[in-house]
């Protein structure tokens, strides 16, 4: 089994840094998803593991071997490319078997392997077709079969589903997950699609502008985002983020005279510019007059079917909440909500980092001052 | 877009390039630089010593009225050939582009002149235009002496130009048709929705959009009329009558290889090369501009 260790990995293109120093260990047999917006350096990182990009600084080890100087073929990785990169002039069987042919495997053995892999992904009826005669999903399967046939130590996926339609994407997701479950091969998967990332990953690496923002299980990343970027990037609809300041006694001042009393935060955040975050599903709509209720005015409503998203204004700040009630509600109407005490996140505006509110500092109740 | 996937190898690329580079060096760069040297020296024909002549060779050819007459003739020849050939090819390409039934047959025939050797076409046209032979001869019988390229310089020049223009149809047609077919069909459809008839769409939509190709072909035609004219003229008129069809390449050949004035020919070569290089540069500038607004 094979772990991948990245230590101090940096990448510069003509002096422009694109990856700023990544230290991560991917455990043996783990399925890790690198998630981030386009241009964040996630593909570059993957390609450095594959050996398709030089490593400017730092080391990458696959298993116990530092692979910095090794050719791609010597690293034992197989890769599934974004546009599949199938050889257009070779049949499906030839595409799958090409790596084995290059490695000098005898024909009979090769054919048998190609056949068994093709069967396992349901490609056996198409072995003689050319890539041009296949559907998008079938091409995707050829690309995966080509990676599987080599029995690699590591699977690398570079946004492999971005050319598929939504329905196929969900199906392929399940297949990749099953594949990983049955083979147990260490896998690194790059995507910008957070749903894909959350559903596939054992652990997520979230990157932004060449920096790793957070490494963690999907639930950790969701429930305890390490930075403003992660808080904003993960979750749909996005987390409510309200900029403001704490005064000495723990009042959070925001917008046009908005004020929330958070006594517990006083000692850690007093006088700092911070951002308060709360997920829309943690904002609970309540009747007027409920203790701690905050007033807001409805801007507009998005109907989702099972629930609705209410976009409202509270003291000049936008707040979004998931509302499961079905009463008539329209633009300009007043509503009230409370914030779940355990669902509040604090971030320092200066460095964007999470400010940890220790358990005993958590506010027992929230008062609208 | 820049490539990002490369191979690294200190030796292999040089091994791959070596044969081509060697040939280019021996048969292009060396002789071309030699020509520069000769153009500034006075040399005995084919060997012997040479003495420094400065710009004298150039001054000599520029002071020669016959040379200027050749330059003017070449310019006229180039413009006439390019204009006739391109107009014909463009017209044919535009109609072929409508892709009506049976167009394929026309399309393949229009390419044929591309395959024909200039001297071969020259022979055929010489017969067609021969004053005594069966085609023009019939006209000459009705109006004696109305056509005789063997004695009339204008007739001779006209004959060569027509033949050269015919030869260029194939090449021009291929490029025009390709350019037209690359235009998105939706543009023509939008034009139709706006109420433009097919003829108007040709003029208002297609023609302006293939302007870059028109320009590219214009330069290619001009260059080819400098270079490909040799075979035609040698077979049809040998530059005559009385130099009436002598263009730059032909004069260069006559002076250098018949008259053995090697230095003069070298100077003429340099002038011709500069001319062709200038035209190519104009084209590059244009292509670059095109790339920018794409």
């Amino acid at each position: 089994m094979t772990a991948i260790t990245l230590s101090g990995v940096k990448k510069r293109y003509l002096k422009n840094p694109v990856v700023h120093g990544v230290d991560v260990t991917i455990e043996s047999g783990e399925f890790v998803v690198i998630l981030g917006p386009s241009g964040c350096g996630k593909s570059t990182l993957l390609r450095m593991i594959a050996g398709l990009e030089d490593i400017t600084e730092g080391t990458i080890a696959i298993g116990d071997t530092v692979v910095n100087k090794l050719e791609p073929r010597e690293r034992g990785c197989a890769m599934v490319f974004q546009n599949y990169a199938l050889y257009p002039h070779m049949s499906v069987a030839q595409n799958i078997g090409y790596a084995l042919k290059v490695a000098g495997m005898p024909r009979a053995q090769r054919d048998a392997k190609v056949m068994s892999v093709a069967k396992s992904v349901g490609l056996d009826p198409y072995l003689t077709r050319k890539p041009g005669e296949l559907s998008g999903g079938q091409r995707q399967r050829v690309a995966m079969a080509r990676a599987m046939v080599r029995e690699p130590k590591v699977f690398l996926f570079d946004e492999p589903f971005s050319n598929l339609d939504a329905k196929l994407r969900v199906a392929m997701r399940a297949e990749v997950r099953n594949l990983h479950r049955s083979l147990g091969v260490t896998s690194v998967f790059v995507t910008h699609d957070q749903t894909e990332a959350m559903t596939l990953a054992d652990r997520l690496i979230i990157m932004n502008q060449g920096i790793v923002e957070q490494v963690g299980k999907p639930s950790e990343v969701y429930h305890r985002p390490a930075s403003l970027f992660v808080a904003d990037f993960i979750g749909s609809p996005a987390m409510n983020l309200i900029k403001g300041q704490f005064d000495a006694i723990g009042n959070f001042l925001h917008g046009r005279g908005g004020m929330l009393h958070l006594p517990g935060a006083a000692s850690i955040a007093a006088g700092r510019d911070v951002t308060l975050g709360v997920r829309p599903e943690a904002v609970r709509r309540v009747e007027a007059g409920t203790r701690g209720a905050i007033a807001a005015v409805v801007d507009y409503i998005e109907e989702l079917g099972a629930a609705r998203l209410v976009y409202a204004d509270t003291d000049g700040n936008r707040i979004v909440l998931v509302d499961e009630r079905t009463d008539a509600l329209g633009t300009g109407m007043p509503i009230h909500f409370t914030l779940g005490e355990n669902d509040l996140h604090l971030f320092d505006n200066a460095d964007g980092k999470r400010i940890e509110m220790r358990a005993d500092h958590r506010v027992p109740s929230l008062l609208n001052a | 877009m820049e490539r990002r996937a490369f191979y690294q190898n200190p030796v292999l690329p040089w091994l791959l390039l070596a044969p081509q580079l060697l040939l280019v060096l021996v048969f292009f760069y060396w002789p071309t630089s030699q020509a520069l040297f000769w153009a500034f020296t006075l040399e005995q024909p084919w060997g012997g010593g040479n003495t420094w002549a400065g710009f004298n060779n150039f001054l000599y050819i520029f002071g020669d009225g016959r040379y200027w007459a050749t330059v003017a003739r070449s310019a006229f020849y180039a413009i006439a050939v390019s204009a006739i050939s391109m107009c014909l090819a463009l017209t044919l390409a535009m109609f072929v582009d409508r892709a009506l039934k049976g167009t394929r047959m026309f399309q393949s025939v229009f390419v044929w002149p591309y395959a024909i050797a200039a001297p071969a076409a020259g022979v055929a046209f010489r017969f067609i235009f021969a004053p005594e032979a069966g085609l023009i001869g019939a006209v000459n019988e009705m109006w004696p002496g109305i056509w005789n390229p063997a004695t009339n310089g204008f007739h001779a020049l006209g004959m060569v130009i027509v033949c050269h223009a015919w030869l260029g149809i194939g090449y021009n047609f291929i490029f025009f048709l390709a350019a037209l077919q690359m235009l998105p069909k939706s543009l023509s459809e939008a034009g139709a929705m706006d109420g433009a008839r097919p003829y108007r769409r040709m003029l208002d939509i297609q023609l302006p959009l293939i302007a870059p190709t028109v320009f590219f072909l214009l330069i290619m035609n001009l260059i080819s009329s400098f270079t490909d004219s040799f075979g035609l003229i040698d077979v049809m008129t040998e530059g005559g009558p009385i130099n009436a069809t002598e263009v730059m390449v032909y004069k260069l050949y006559v002076d250098g290889f018949k008259g053995l004035d090697y230095s003069g020919a070298a100077a003429q070569s340099i002038v011709l090369m500069l001319l062709v290089i200038a035209l190519t540069f104009v084209q590059f500038r244009w292509v670059e501009k095109r790339v920018h607004y794409n």
């Binding site: - | 990002r4 014909l88 097919p198 260069l252």
Partner: protein, 305 residues
């Protein structure tokens, strides 16, 4: 097209038929005159329908201009230039596009600039090299004093000499030494997606395997196009063979024979023989173009766009 317009359709067909007429007239006249006997071809006005003497005229032209060996020469030159160019161009374009080495762009421009000056324009200097193609190297040795050094050391004076006059190499090599093919291949190689290179790297193949297993099979269309272009242009060469072959009997090509076929000023006006000769001389490249049209048109276009 989108709407019906019978009038414009009529104009379209009329123009295309007129164009076909224009293009075909020289071919037709060549065939007509080539198939008539001396008396028929001398008629004024000419009968515009072929007669039955084509084979006999071709035979006369064939023996008169010694076309047999000349055809073989032309074929040797055309095939030689075509294969030479395809191989050299593929190799050099491969190096330029897929290898990252310092002098890459310099090499590209060194080769690319040769596109600018066709052989006809630099005919005088190129001819000067024909007497001794190794002269550049001799000069380099002389300039750096290596000749003298070796002479004093070993007593042997280096005299590099390679005369190209009257030889197939002389006919072929200068025509191979241009960038047309390299440029065509380069344009095509640039369209190969990076991922394909990377996939083959991941599959464990090095540059040479990639070249043989992936690039060559993919560039078959371009190779056919280049072959057509090169075959036509080298078969049709006129000025260069005229200069490099003083021994016409053994090294002349068919296109050079055309001029000799034209009736002399005061000789018998046997244009029928001339036209029959011209017909068979123009036939091979015409056949190649007609057969390869689909591929070669595509290739020619990708060259300059």
């Amino acid at each position: 097209m989108i709407e019906r317009s019978p009038l414009f359709d009529f104009i379209t067909y009329a123009t295309m038929i007129l164009g076909m007429f224009l293009v075909l007239v020289p071919f037709w006249i060549t065939i007509v005159a080539g198939s008539q006997n001396l008396q028929e071809v001398s008629q004024v006005p000419l009968n515009l329908w072929p007669s039955g003497h084509l084979v006999e005229n071709i035979q006369t032209a064939w023996t008169r201009s010694d076309l047999g060996p000349k055809m073989i020469n032309s074929l040797i030159v055309a095939v030689g230039v075509t294969t030479g160019k395809i191989i050299l161009a593929a190799l050099s374009a491969f190096a330029i596009v897929f290898f990252n080495f310092r002098a890459r762009m310099i090499c590209f421009w060194l080769i690319f600039i040769t596109l600018m000056l066709p052989l006809e324009v630099r005919i005088v200097p190129t001819y000067s090299i024909a007497a001794n193609a190794l002269l550049p190297f001799q000069t380099i040795l002389d300039v750096f004093g290596i000749t003298g050094l070796i002479e004093t050391l070993s007593g042997v004076r280096i005299g590099l000499e390679w005369n190209l006059l009257n030889s197939y190499t002389g006919l072929i090599l200068p025509l191979v030494a241009t960038a047309t093919g390299t440029f065509l291949y380069r344009q095509f190689f640039m369209t190969i997606p990076d991922e394909l290179v990377e996939a083959s790297k991941m599959d464990g193949s090095g540059p040479i395997r990639f070249f043989l297993d992936v690039l060559l099979p993919l560039s078959r269309t371009n190779m056919l196009a280049l072959a057509t272009i090169m075959f036509v242009s080298s078969w049709n060469q006129y000025l260069w063979p005229l200069l490099i072959t003083t021994d016409r009997k053994n090294f002349g090509t068919v296109v050079m024979q055309l001029k000799a076929l034209i009736p002399a000023q005061n000789g018998t006006p046997d244009w029928n023989v001339t036209m029959a000769g011209a017909l068979i001389i123009m036939l091979p490249p015409l056949l190649v173009v007609a057969l390869m049209q689909r591929w070669f048109v595509r290739g020619l276009i990708s060259r300059d766009k």
